[in-house]
């Protein structure tokens, strides 16, 4: 239990963090693209 919570869980959390950060960059870029397209249309 100690090994699982003190080694495996932190590694899983680090992987989740990196994955979410990547997804966040994609999310922000997509919003920015949408805003630019709308501005061009306007």
């Amino acid at each position: 239990m100690i090994y699982t919570t003190a080694i495996v869980f932190p590694v899983v959390a680090l992987v989740a963090s990196i994955t979410v950060f990547g997804a966040l960059i994609v999310f922000v870029l997509k919003i920015q693209k949408d805003i630019k397209i709308k501005k061009k249309k306007a």
């Binding site: 239990m1 003190a6 869980f9 959390a13 680090l14 963090s17 997804a23 966040l24 999310f27």
Partner: protein
Amino acid sequence: MDFAMSNTSLTGSDFFAISGYFVSLLLLGYLTRRNKTFAEFALGRQALPALMVFASLAATIIGPGFSLGFTEKGYTAGFLFFFLCLSYPLQTIISGLFLAPRLARLRDCTTLGDVMNKRYGKVTQFLTGIISVGLLIGFTAIMGKIGGTMLHAVTGWPVLLCYALITGSTALLTFTGGVRATVATEAFQFSLFSVIVPVLVLLAFWKNPIPVAEVSAKAWALTAEGFSITSTPALLGIVVSFFLGEMLLPPYANRALAAQSEKSASTGFVLAGGYTIVWLGLVCVLGILAHAFLPVDTAPADAFLAMGKSLLPSGVYGLLLAAIIAVIVSSQEATLNSGAVAFVKDIVAPLDPPTEKRAILLGNGATLGIAALSIYVAQFAPSIIDGLLILYSLWAPTILVPLIGALYGWRATPASGWLSILLGGSVTLVWQVQLSEFAGIPAILVGLGASLAGFFLGRFIKPSRSAALLKEPLP
């Protein structure tokens, strides 16, 4: 929670790290804010991918209680609370499998009140709004109080000013941004605390001067002691409260409503449930490992920060503080945003439907208003904690039965909705306040039974307003 923290003096690099965090948040908030309609303010464009639903949910779920509070519990009771509170992530996973996809189907609903209105009418929507906003004010207040108390311990500034700084800065981040800015900043905060805290745990394990077998024995001894001194009804009460207390609270339900598809909503909820198990395990073990590093007279509530201070270098400790602020701010952002949306859609709109422009203004104003009210309410601790416990135990017995009934198309009349809410709420209050949870039976369970009874009794009070509508499940 009371923080002594006499050793939390900050260096220049700590302040630099904290400032960097706030600048990043402001930049993200700026890049993602764009709300031309109230629907955009409330749900973005219903385009949240699964990973963003997951990050936003996880950041909201992981508040100060599930971080600093859980390390405290690990320090005093080993793995006891980790096992008891597994009912919480289990609830999130069940919600993800059975409820979130049905919510995500309702593309024309902005709030839980909207879902209720579709099936039971405006009275039930209004009652849902009152309960949602009241509960969210309580949650915002208690998180602001915990954050403010920490800020006061670090800076020595007046307590009220510290409450106002924590809740006020969250409100400023939230009030014009709407849900997309909230979700983006939450994902950033998730990334931050999901790096710093796991690194702290790995460091604690690596530098631990005591043999692992001894740490493990200590952990199990604390766990066994915790089980032996806690009565069975109290254990049952904790499990039930964590299972039902926050099921589909407005901030969580809003993420399902804002998801781009049923699959995104479901995946996001299931991942968030899984991640909560991971998170609870690692903050709990941090408290257990703290016995190897901290003096025996350390206050359990200080264990989290004291471990950071003793293990992390200057600058990285500042990042840990930024991560704790992130834990608080991310949860407050979600409660403020969904509280403002519920206020406009479920309390104001049934009485006087606002125009699009007025709805956005009302949403912005409600964000600031709820924040101001929360700062005011936060001063009245410890009574606020009692109040919050009542609100917490009220959610499931009032909202859950009619909500599930609406999502699954149970046969009902408009009276089923409001009677279920009123009967469930009043029985819960009497059982909790007047009868002090008689025989150790949790008020949530008794209230749920009453709510279910109210729902079925409602069928006989009034014939269905539209048989066609009420017999068909929601789309």
